[in-house]
Symmetry: C2
Subunit: 331 residues, 2 copies
Amino acid sequence: MQQPVQKRSLFVGIDIGGTKILAAVATPEGRILARAKKKTLPKVATFPQDPVWLSERITETALAAIEKAGVPAEAIRAVGVGAPGPTNIYTGRVLTAVNLPGWHNGFDLGPVLSEALNMPVYVDNDVNVGLLGEHTFGAARGLKDVVGLFVGTGLGGALILDGKLRRGFRWSAGEVGHTYLYWPGQQPMDIEHIASRGAISKQLTSELNKGRSPILESILSQRSDRRITSGVIRKALAKGDPATQRAIAQTQEAIAVLIASIANLLDPEAFVLGGGLVESLGESFLEPIREKAYPLFFVRHRVEEVQLMPAALGDDSGVLGAVALAKSLAD
Amino acid sequence: MQQPVQKRSLFVGIDIGGTKILAAVATPEGRILARAKKKTLPKVATFPQDPVWLSERITETALAAIEKAGVPAEAIRAVGVGAPGPTNIYTGRVLTAVNLPGWHNGFDLGPVLSEALNMPVYVDNDVNVGLLGEHTFGAARGLKDVVGLFVGTGLGGALILDGKLRRGFRWSAGEVGHTYLYWPGQQPMDIEHIASRGAISKQLTSELNKGRSPILESILSQRSDRRITSGVIRKALAKGDPATQRAIAQTQEAIAVLIASIANLLDPEAFVLGGGLVESLGESFLEPIREKAYPLFFVRHRVEEVQLMPAALGDDSGVLGAVALAKSLAD
């Protein structure tokens, strides 16, 4: 039998990704009681451009998680949401979300969800929320300053400075994937064009098309979708595929230089690295980054105290971060 | 006749540069009553390595300014100092100062000056102090978030985030000149190797040595020291010297890319650009930077509200910033 649940004692965390919506019901301590998942976009040729359509799907995911937890709606104190775009946390408006049809010109996600669920809803940018999760429940607990770098399809970032998420003047801080690689005479290039799982996949696809990567080819031939996932990259590295080794080394070097530049600018206490690629490759991915980054820190004083650590929450950083957001903002 | 001065109503601001020490006596509103100046290093072949030697010179400069102001020591409430290195503002210790003999391993400047002057002394990094001056008395008054970039011998930076100087975990924030230019396959290079008056002078010296810059040569021939100062660069641009135009364009492009990367990371309200080169060239230097930087801001929402402005205090930003520091920290 389920124990009786205190009124307003639980939180719902929602993570809106480009491919899936995750929702979880959790305690204030971050213990997850139940989860639900839906695909973000339906399998139809023409996706409805009505922005409300997606918010209904998000509502359903939240309600499914609450139902699975077996708790009444009154048990939920507040709902937190991580949204894939810059978000005004006071109004709950997602200002733009380039990857979501109908949300390009912004969407009042907080008010719409709040009315649909009849619960207080707090919305923030998904990468901010992920770092807040690591700061509240994960690798970065107790740290005053931490820079989060999340290496996935793109390269996402977020900042906690002086114990607080840095949201920015236009709610747009942390867009670290759009740090520019630049060399005199070259056109500036987004670092995520080199340093992301997406960039690596693209580069390796080009190598495969030229027949230059037989090891990777043999790994992919076992997958019907032939997608170069983080898991595929891990296997290709383990088998010594040279093209994959080169692409990973390039990514590590770019991330190391980025970390050093950010360290010289912001002088944070720690960097937390997460995202699918980091989770999949683990310490063998991080160690070469540390080796390249630290010598580039300009001020050498106490340099050994600056931490460069892996994220701890994995796929749960989004929903747990959303729980942390709701917990920190709920009255 | 001097009006009687209220006890503890004035501040002394001290700016320790690589070539000169400036001191000023000022009101809490930033009105300068008197100034004094001394060369930082004496003209002797072997400079004394005793770190106290320099602090005595700093003390003398402060006392000279107080004497010129014609006020008694009791009129001074506190002394602020900008020091050329990372500084622990709680202890007044300069942690390292590579350009000052005897200070490499740190120096307790605050306590030493405080004892010598018998006044409360507050010390911070010189670039932090300069930006604080612009924030308190200059171009950035009233702004919540501002990034300061100072283009001089090197490229210095400082950050005010959420209304407060960002000093960093190791007192080392703002070292923006050590942001890395990076391109896959290249060794990372400090941006100040391209974007500083020092870098431009070096590049132009090499052009001169190859006989490639007759316009600049004719300007320099009128100076006994043949130094490529910011003023010389301004004249060479005005006369259409192609080598100088190229060097300035390269600097502008690098600074524009840097500003865009910082905007994407921190999303500040404003950038304030100062330093000798910016003061000398003015708007004609800034406008091409704006034109190149804004299109590189990733989030377009309200991009036109982000300001990119010139500093207002010129050479006084150091002493007035030191006054602002003393004013903000004095009890």
